[in-house]
């Protein structure tokens, strides 16, 4: 057992005692009741459980929670699907996902949303050429499995958000 403290969607949690062998996914879902983060495979192969980890250096990355111990998140700051909208205001990505009918069952949506958000933030610092955009989105999202949609509308939604602000995301 060890006590962990972490920030989730800007809110401090802990210290909370966790078992060394408790996964972060179970910490979120069973301990905190935050079930927006899903469980799909338990093996980091579908990434429906991915959350955003914000590094103190200002960079962010998604990370599967099903294969990582909760302990590992002590002192970290993470974002989950529950934290994207603020004050009832959806992000551009959330709106685009809805407008494009990007998801169907929606069980993979949290993972796609987190991954696409990290991509947007990366492109702000490291923009890509327009010609490379589709491939950049493809590589960024390819770890995420979706069984319903054939992916088309997710990719179109993310592309739409980027093309709406080319100066922000593109070279």
């Amino acid at each position: 057992m060890s006590a962990i403290s972490l920030k989730i969607n800007g809110k401090d949690h802990g210290p909370i005692e966790v078992r060394d062998d408790l996964s972060m996914n179970d910490f979120l879902r069973e301990v905190l009741g935050m079930t927006g983060t899903k469980f799909g495979c338990g093996a980091a192969q579908c990434l429906s459980c991915a959350v955003i980890v914000d590094d103190p250096d200002g960079t962010s990355a998604t990370m599967p929670t099903c294969t990582a111990p909760a302990m590992n998140f002590d002192g970290k700051s993470i974002r989950t699907v529950e934290g994207h909208a603020s004050n009832g205001q959806l992000t551009a990505l959330q709106e685009a996902f809805i407008r494009h009918f990007a998801f169907q069952c929606g069980y993979c949506t949290a993972g796609f949303l987190n991954e696409a958000q990290v991509l947007l933030e990366r492109l702000e610092h490291q923009p890509v050429a327009r010609e490379a955009l589709e491939q950049t989105i493809l590589v960024a999202l390819d770890g995420h499995l979706c069984r319903c949609t054939g992916y088309v509308r997710y990719h179109e939604a993310v592309r739409d958000v980027i093309l709406a602000q080319p100066a922000r995301y593109l070279l």
Binding site: E30, G33, K38, L90, I98, Q104, C148
Partner: protein
């Protein structure tokens, strides 16, 4: 003959246990510190900020919605702590099970309760007929199949459960003894479908519809059916089978003018791989004798009924007097959550751990191990085609499908697969046999395509091969053989819906991918290029489909909808809301799906089995105005748009006609005798205003308020039933007889209570429609271009086009989304996904997504996939179901493209790069 999708007692109470007594959640009730289950599951389609899915907002914000999201603490009134159950399954089905050894579990990982076959044996628990077989494998017997449940371990705390599940995954607690080999089991179905058309348009000489489906009466010593008629076979079988044998003889020794191809094709076992593993939460409160159960299934009414049957004669301590079933949004279904045994184990966990809310949730290993699979088929096809005309003269098919350990839907899949064997074609002589076999593999059941994916893949690759042999363009060969509107299908009945295959073939032929196929082949350097096409059709509906709907209009114009259809991603909540928005003028502010408990006012009752009931029985039963052939059916078989929206839409029409329309007339000051009073069908909504030419637009809220003020109809609850045609009934409303495609109706006036109406006339579709194979069908064609790397055999899909038809399009994006998702699933089936059937397969508990490969975006032409939806034949054409057919032509089109690229015909699935490489070197 068609087997029932549910063949036990069905009434408002099953086995003496009252079902689902809970009422609609009361918003703002003082007791509720947190939203009730039903409040969470009822979504406001009007507050979605952009025009999207009704569940759009909930799904992008991570709202508690899916069955796997709920814990005891989320259920107001429940004890707050969640206990956890672990279902241990057999990893061996050829040795005697010797018992459970939990020594590997430390003291802090021990279950509090262990439920085994021994406990069940003395508990009075019954196995619902559909799931015939031991619920838990008894010690001293060989498990019936790989993955068969053996024990339920119940843990009070999550930590103990969590430790145990990890430990037991690494060290199986099951001990096995003597080798017995797999246990034999009877075939689940053996059937023969034979049709011989009359000459020159004369009535059929023989057809399944008129003469019946043939069941071979004899088996050989190995349990294989004997198809040949003989002295011991009865007259009915002999007559049909003799005609079938004639067809086969002619194909075996064809005359010179006939091209005969005789081919074998094999398909694999696959997993539906919906992303949310099966899961459930239940609490048995013995003091109240109430079992509350939260499930996520495609068949909620069946799940509740099955649980009630299971416990209906159990010993008092575990027999609930009441079961409250609550059904949540699910993370995908694809058929694999229709009639699964999983809910039974959720209920068992609860009743054997009284007082403790308990959760049973598969992880992915367990989902592979225990979840319903798609049937692998072995198919032999013989086709005879006139070399001059290109007309198909005869077809014979033989299907053997592996149903795995439990019967489940195997018989039904066999039938649907067999009756789809000639696809979109008109063939005068057809003889198809099918055998659904038992095996010790994981149980197979319903999955998108339902047998037709397998048989039409075999057919459409065969047609492609024939076209090459005959030197006829493959689209032209198809065109010459199309079944036309009104023509008899393989079972002898015509399709009763629009037949759009001629247009689909035209579209495929005109598409640049097809037109430029030779050019691409000639100009692409370095890789092999191939183009392939296929066109398929798939029935929608099961021949006994129900719809329940409850629609209410508030004085402020807001709309509430309840439907028994399940939201599994298909967008049923959105489709029903859009259909009703067109009728009642506003997006619904409360859409509740998967509700089976809010139609009590209809007082429905049923007897018999809708598939096997006789005409006399039906006629007698129909005299009871509460009787319907079936109360609620699964969300399956592509029925979302067609069936799932039906009852709600009909209820809404009644609210408009007898509530809003009279209110509008009053607001316009039009007298009842004014001719304009009858123009209700010409009025329409635009931007929440009711428009009738020549009159001032009326605000929807004003019309609603007036309807309430006038005590017009403001709420309606309806039931609809379809057996390849809607049941139709008339109801007395406002001194007139309202006739609609529903068979039960209750209405509310103003804010009053509901009044149940007796039908003054009812027509149920005749029972001999049960011998129809396919009547409602929709079609889809695909053309695809691929490139193959010579060195590695790697296949790249360059571009693809699918064209489909679905009658009225309720929501364009949902239809296109189905086609895009179906494309991906088709690619997975053709090229990626496979499961070994037995010991090395998923029943061993070791399968996950590292070994089972489903399509990722990088496997697909996501920016080069064109979907075209044909406009309806008329503005009044009803919606048709397409969620399955959109997957089917993808598979044969890819195989035909691979042949075009490599010159090789693969006749087993999936086709992997190694296999392709193997034929290139």
């Amino acid at each position: 003959m068609r087997l029932s999708r549910r063949d036990f007692l069905r009434t408002g109470s099953v086995s003496g246990i009252a079902l689902t007594l809970s009422k609609i959640g009361i918003p703002g009730a003082a007791l509720a510190e947190q939203p009730s289950f039903f409040e969470r599951e009822t979504l406001n389609g009007a507050e979605v900020p952009v025009r999207g899915r009704v569940d759009g907002l909930a799904k992008v914000t991570g709202a508690k919605l899916y069955v796997s999201d709920f814990r005891a603490a989320d259920m107001p009134g429940w004890p707050p702590q969640t206990s956890h159950a672990l279902l241990v399954r057999a990893t061996d089905a050829s040795h005697v099970y010797d018992g459970l050894n939990l020594d590997a579990l430390g003291a802090n990982a021990r279950p509090d309760v262990v439920v085994t076959a021994a406990e069940l044996a003395t508990s009075g628990v019954r196995v619902p007929h559909f799931y015939e077989g031991n619920l838990l494998c008894p010690v001293g017997t060989t498990p019936l199949y790989l993955g068969q449940p053996v024990a339920l371990l119940l843990f009070e705390t999550f930590d103990a459960y969590d430790r145990a599940r990890t430990a037991l995954r690494d060290h199986s607690p099951l001990r096995f003894g003597a080798e017995t080999g797999p246990l034999p089991g009877a075939n689940y179905a053996t059937l023969r479908f034979t049709r011989v058309a009359g000459a020159d348009g004369a009535p059929d000489v023989y057809s399944p519809l008129r003469d019946g489906w043939l069941n071979p009466p004899l088996e050989d010593s190995d349990g294989r059916p004997i198809w040949q008629p003989g002295p011991k076979t009865d007259e009915a079988y002999t007559r049909g089978a003799a005609l079938g044998e004639d067809i086969r003889s002619a194909l075996a020794s064809p005359d010179a003018g006939l091209l005969v191809l005789d081919r074998n094709f094999e398909t694999q076992s696959v997993d539906p791989m919906f992303l949310e593993p099966e899961c459930g939460l239940a609490w048995y409160a013995p003091d109240k004798q109430a079992l509350e159960i939260v499930l996520g299934v495609q068949s909620p009414y069946e799940a509740a009924s099955a649980v009630a049957f299971m416990l209906g004669e159990a010993e008092t301590a575990i027999r609930p007097a009441r079961i409250d079933g609550r059904f949540a949004y699910i993370g995908g279904g694809f058929g694999g959550r229709d009639h699964t045994p999983f809910p039974l184990y959720v209920a068992l966990a609860a009743v054997f751990f009284p007082g403790k809310p308990i959760r049973l949730a598969h992880d992915r290993f367990q989902q592979f191990q225990g979840g319903i699979k798609r049937h692998p088929f072995r198919i032999r096809s013989q086709i005879g085609i006139d070399k001059t005309s290109g007309r198909i003269a005869a077809f014979a098919g033989d299907h053997i499908l592996d149903g795995g350990g439990l019967a489940n839907y195997s018989a039904s899949v066999a039938i649907v697969g067999a009756t789809a064997a000639i696809g979109i074609y008109d063939i005068p002589k057809v003889d198809v046999t099918t055998v659904a076999e038992h095996s010790h593999g994981v149980t197979a059941g319903s999955m998108r395509g339902y047998g037709t994916l397998q048989t039409m893949t075999a057919l459409e690759t065969l047609i492609d091969e024939a076209a090459v042999e005959l030197k006829i363009d493959p689209i032209e060969l198809r065109r010459r053989n199309l079944l036309k509107t009104g023509g008899p299908s393989m079972t002898g009945n015509p399709w009763t819906v629009s037949v759009r295959t001629p247009e689909i073939l035209d579209k495929l032929e005109a598409h640049p991918i097809w037109r430029k196929r030779s050019m691409h082949k000639a100009t692409t350097v370095g890789t092999l290029v191939g183009t392939g096409t296929a066109c398929c059709t798939k029935d929608y509906g099961t021949g006994a489909d129900c719809s329940l709907g409850r629609v209410e209009l508030a004085p402020d114009g807001s709309i509430t909808i309840h439907t028994d259809s399940v939201e599994m991603g298909n967008g049923i909540g959105t489709a029903v809301a859009r259909r009703i928005e067109a009728i009642l003028g506003r997006a619904a502010s409360a859409v509740a799906v998967a509700r089976i408990d809010t139609y009590d006012e209809l007082e429905l009752s049923t007897t018999g089995d809708p598939y096997t009931i006789t005409q006399d029985q039906q006629d007698a039963a129909a005299k009871n105005p509460r009787w319907v052939p079936e109360i609620s059916t699964a969300s399956t078989a592509s029925i979302g748009a067609h069936v799932g929206t039906q009852a709600s839409a009909q209820a809404a029409r009644i609210i408009f006609r007898f509530g809003m329309w009279p209110a509008a007339l009053a607001l316009w000051g039009i007298a009842p005798a004014d001719p304009r009073a009858f123009l209700f069908e010409q009025a329409f909504w635009q931007g929440e205003e009711l428009i009738l030419s020549g009159l001032p637009p009326l605000a929807q809220a004003d019309v609603a308020a007036k309807a309430h003020e006038q005590e017009g109809v403001t709420g309606a609850i309806a039931h609809a039933f379809s057996r390849w045609a809607w049941a139709q009934a008339a109801f007395p409303i406002d001194d007139m007889q309202w006739t609609a495609d529903i068979d039960a109706l209750s209405i509310r006036r103003g804010s009053g209570s509901y009044k149940l109406l007796d039908r003054s006339f009812v027509f149920f579709p005749p029972t001999d429609y049960n011998r129809i194979g396919t009547s409602f069908t929709s079609s889809c064609g695909t053309v695809v271009r691929i490139e193959i790397d010579r060195a590695s055999g790697a296949l790249h899909i360059v571009e693809a086009y699918s064209v489909l038809e679905c009658g009225e399009v309720l929501v364009t994006e949902l239809v296109e989304g189905q086609a895009q998702g179906g494309f991906a699933m088709g690619v997975g089936y053709a090229l990626l996904e496979t499961l070994p059937r037995f010991e090395d397969g998923p029943g061993n508990g070791k399968w996950n997504l590292g070994d089972y490969i489903v399509a990722r975006a990088s496997d697909l032409p996501i920016h080069n996939l064109e979907i075209e939806v044909l406009p309806p034949v008329s503005p009044k054409e009803p919606p048709k179901g397409i969620a399955e057919v959109v997957m089917i032509p993808i598979v044969p089109a890819l195989l035909n493209a691979i042949h075009d690229a490599t010159g090789h015909r693969f006749r087993s699935l999936p086709v992997t790069p190694d296999m392709i490489k193997g034929v290139l070197t």
